[in-house]
């Protein structure tokens, strides 16, 4: 069994992170914009501060780390499911489900309206699909 190609995981993760950041930027400026504003007001925070660069920076880093994790998962699952987009989707959706399960728990605790959860989950799914396909397309083994 060949070992994981670490260099390609990093490159693929960066590509996946760029795609995820582009998607999340788009969602937060369009579909999720009103939800973000409403949640900021509800939590007693300044909506302008939430859209500042200092607030955005951790999200950008998080998307890149998630990209690396997704491509690592793809590389680790490849011997089981074979190389290609199907395995990329399995890797991405496995991690997506872990995140969405916790987010649903938060929603049930009253931290987020169900409508915002539904929209956020749907947009995140698109982000995960595109990010994992892009990242995995870069990953190669000798």
């Amino acid at each position: 069994m060949a070992s994981i190609n670490t260099g390609r995981v990093v490159v693929g993760g960066l590509v996946g992170g760029v795609v995820a950041n582009a998607c999340d930027f788009l969602w937060n400026m369009t579909i999720m914009k009103d939800d973000m504003t409403a949640m900021a007001q509800r939590f007693g925070m300044d909506p302008a501060a939430m859209q500042s660069m200092s607030a955005a920076a951790p999200w950008i880093v998080i998307d890149f780390v998630m990209g690396l994790l997704t491509v690592f998962a793809y590389a680790a699952m490849r011997p089981r499911f074979g190389p290609g987009p199907k395995t990329a989707l399995i890797a991405g959706i496995t991690l997506y489900l872990a995140v969405t399960a916790i987010l649903y728990g938060f929603t049930s605790m009253g931290m987020m309206p169900m409508g915002a959860f539904g929209r956020g989950s749907a947009t995140s799914l698109v982000t995960v699909i595109l990010g994992s396909l892009a990242g995995a397309a870069v990953y190669k083994e000798a």
């Binding site: 939590f43 951790p58 680790a76 011997p79 089981r80 872990a98 995140v99 728990g105």
Partner: protein
């Protein structure tokens, strides 16, 4: 390459879910109880909602799903990394890291960083304990990966 053993996946996932439920119950109701009260107070969230029976049931189900997910991840990466506790820890860490990244995004807004760190450590313990328990149960007929 042998296929994922569905029966053992479910059995391991249920055990992992039980272990994670126990860990999370202790974490959230004892170790982090005052932290959650503080968060509810500063973020205008009704504490009754946070500890209502429906949210508790939801979290039990969520932990069972996470248990299945951890063992699924273990089964998926086993041919690459080999069977055993080392691979179970990697699987648990992968699921934990995905959750921790979500929590970190909440630390920016909803949570506080100190709650995130304490909650993250306990979440890691829960994920690793669940993965080790579930991975211990999971087996495949074809032991040659």
């Amino acid at each position: 390459m042998s296929r994922v053993n569905g029966g053992k996946l479910v059995a391991g996932g249920i055990l992992a879910g039980v272990v994670m439920n126990i860990c999370d119950y202790v974490s959230n109701n004892f170790i982090l109880a005052t932290d959650w009260e503080h968060i509810a107070r500063i973020r205008n969230v009704d504490m009754a909602d946070m500890s209502s029976p429906s949210s508790l049931v939801t979290y039990v189900v969520v932990d069972m799903l996470l248990g299945l997910l951890v063992v699924w991840t273990y089964a998926a990466i086993r041919p690459r990394l080999g069977q055993g506790p080392g691979t179970a820890i990697v699987a648990g860490f992968m699921v934990f890291l995905a959750q921790a990244l979500l929590m970190a995004s909440y630390a920016v807004s909803f949570l506080t960083w100190d709650v995130f760190i304490r909650g993250g450590v306990l979440m890691l313990v829960s994920a690793l304990a669940g993965a080790l328990a579930g991975g211990w149960v999971y087996a495949e007929d074809d032991s040659v990966d």
